[in-house]
Symmetry: C2
Subunit: 443 residues, 2 copies
């Protein structure tokens, strides 16, 4: 009988192994994709793309037991050769090639220059050719950064006693109602796709006190903008036994601090490739909605048109204001008007036209919406009545409250938007692996 | 200006804090839900449910500044009192209550005995009342174990150089075809829900070499069994530059080892509550499909009815065989017949009626399907042609291969099934937070 006992040890080396000082002069074997070949006449450079970065291999006809023409761009290969220090090479080392094994070959040459620093293709082309455009080093790095954000989010919340949950994406009715819900046929019954895990995460506060989820959400919104997607990854948490909604903003501050710490520590290479300067998160200013509107109106001479909502341009100006006045890329805007928040938002006892809620803006764009929720059953029922809503489809949500719920609140962070603003892109599709919008359902 | 600087320090204590030796005799404040009240006449026990477990509080009329009748079951409260060692109490300590602050009260008494060790309600009732039935200590513990499984999966793969990805769940066509696909209307265009991230994770092997995803998948299967769900969480990985499909099984073995290690280390309390004996994962036997069928047919005198597929009863017997003969709860069954595997499965070069694929059985049930995939464009096109399939809807998938893909393979683990078998449940709905099946779309 054959047994498996754990990960098999391999002779092939990863980039990190090659950078160990004792490796110099060793005969090593590495695998990778042929990113590009630069034929200089007497010698040639064969650049391998490996998961940790690029590795330069030098082809010298007298040293190698194969012909350069046998190696094609985009082939998957295994190269053996002598490791040499080379300060000018992308990773500081290079391999003087002795032999090569072709693992797999492409059927056609690349239609776009993925090995260039910048590919200079339109966003449309980039997205149409996503399976290969992502092979570009900078494109790929964006999604390593995105991974770091999610890790930083989960890691911090796990340490803070949160439990990760997996809530259903198909349901009988949407959490917040409205027209932006995708509908589907569920064995001849009408069903919808979750626009948020809101109801479920609140119900689970009654079970685990603190919960989080990192999962897709679906919005059938018809506007095609640079900041909207019809499917995105929402980083959600919800926490019980709060003393006020400051607890939620404080927890998000901790999350953001941990994300930046992790990116600085384990994603330095990608931060360097994309020239990301990690923003400060030690002190995040916190300003009331009406005050923020007034401040930017005064400083930038922009009249307040709609006292109940922030226009994208106003968000941008608030971002600019807090950058200029306080040196902060993040700002919490609090106390949004009740009429712009869902029924479950806790009203401010001092003025119920406002809510104990907030958005977090990052470089002038909303990346988070959160707040304290109503936890008292009777208050919640009264609010539903006042809004002229029906309980239909909310029976289980309301059940959680009927049998007792602690004071609680939470938030949702749009992963792709946070990635976009961190990297400095201006279209959220740039930081979505396979974006879905009004016109795009593929790849 | 107000600033947020990180998580706010609180005076209220968590269970772990209370177990510190220097806390004995201290006046402490804790919050929690009133799980149950046991009135013994002269004194009463008020059991708080906290996220880390149960905490016993003792009510003595002469010590407390409130009346017992003011505290209701299922209320959220903040209790102050003196911490005392109490070997018989659930956590080994108790609080002699001085005062109580009611944070929130239920509107009605509980309809089911959530504070009992076993609630003795039917599965239907349990699922109908999910928001409150999960408040039962043992019910809740199942999903802490589930969290540990996901953490163990991600943590190990991250260390092994995998990148986490987020692929779209709405697409224009299913990855593996077939009738079990949910359809929806996407802005007046036909769309489907992903039944697996298969195509996307393969495409991303060309980008990151090694990728994983932990996300929902959707199957419109019409059979209502104890082991099927219409939406479940799939733990997927895909890895490039493999030497053979043993590399994938070896990686899964490493994943399983890490999951058990993490559960043994950080989820001891929940393992204890549920009386889970963590299965051994040091040596996982590996047997060919046809050989496994022959072995159990001989040992248990069961004729082989269908040489191309494993019936659930056969899976159960294979599990029993490897438990009895090799003391293993896990077994890899390899070389499934090609006609039962999708077109992208790599055929065994020694006998193309079989594939380089496998299932992992755990206690007699399939929890994983995986294998090596075809990586050569021409071989893939030939296979598609031979199966009489069309390229329609696969243009982007095929694009990845046209421009070069390394040898690769991967697998998908059903999270809820793995949790079910680990805990010893016999219905996958028991280990799904909010299950979706033919009849159930709520809560």
């Amino acid at each position: 009988m054959k047994f498996l006992t754990g990960v098999l040890q391999k002779e092939t080396r990863e980039l990190t192994d090659l950078l160990e000082p004792e490796m110099e002069g060793a005969l090593v074997t590495v695998n990778g994709a042929v990113h590009t070949i630069r034929d200089m006449g007497p010698i040639a450079f064969v650049i391998l793309r490996k998961r940790e970065g690029l590795l330069q291999c030098v082809y010298e006809p007298e040293e190698a037991d194969f012909l350069l023409k046998d190696v094609k761009e985009a082939a998957a290969v295994e190269v053996s050769g002598i490791l040499t220090l080379s300060p000018k090479a992308p990773s500081g080392v290079e391999i003087r090639m002795k032999s090569v094994k072709i693992l797999s070959e492409p059927a056609e040459p690349m239609p776009i220059p993925v090995s260039k620093w910048k590919m200079n293709v339109s966003l449309e082309t980039n997205l149409d050719l996503r399976p290969i455009s992502l092979r570009n080093i900078r494109e790929r790095a964006k999604f390593r950064i995105q991974e770091g954000i999610v890790r930083g989010f989960r890691e911090f919340l796990t340490l803070q006693g949160f439990t990760e949950i997996h809530t259903p994406k198909i349901g009988s009715k949407g959490a917040e109602g409205g027209a932006n819900i995708f509908k589907l046929d569920y064995f001849h019954r009408p069903a919808v796709l979750a626009q948020s895990p809101q109801f479920y995460k609140q119900m689970m506060v009654g079970v685990f006190d603190r919960v989080f989820e990192t999962a897709p959400v679906f919005r059938a919104e018809k506007h095609n903008t640079k900041r909207h997607l019809n499917e995105y990854t929402s980083l959600d948490f919800e926490m019980g036994y709060i003393d006020g909604f400051e607890d939620i903003m404080a927890m998000e501050t901790g999350v953001l601090q941990n994300i930046m710490r992790l990116l600085g520590k384990e994603y330095q290479r990608e931060c360097g490739l994309l020239e990301i300067e990690l923003p400060g998160t030690d002190n995040i200013p916190c300003v009331r909605f009406d005050e923020a509107k007034r401040l930017v109106s005064e400083k930038y001479g922009r009249p307040i048109r709609n006292p109940y909502d922030l226009e994208p341009e106003e968000e941008m100006l608030i971002g600019r204001y807090f950058r200029e006045e306080y040196g902060s890329d993040f700002v919490f805007v609090t106390h949004y008007p009740a009429k712009k928040r869902p029924f479950y938002a806790m009203e401010d006892p001092e003025d119920p036209t406002f809510t104990l809620s907030f958005d977090c803006l990052f470089k002038g764009m909303e990346i988070t919406t959160g707040g304290q929720r109503i936890h008292d059953y009777h208050m919640l029922m009264e609010k539903i009545r006042r809004r002229g809503m029906t309980e239909e489809g909310m029976e289980h949500y309301l059940m959680a409250f009927r049998y007792g719920m602690p004071p609680h609140g939470g938030l949702g962070i749009g992963l792709e938007r946070l990635t976009m603003k961190l990297i400095g892109e201006d279209n959220v599709r740039e930081t979505t692996l396979f974006p879905r919008d009004l016109n795009r359902l593929e790849p």
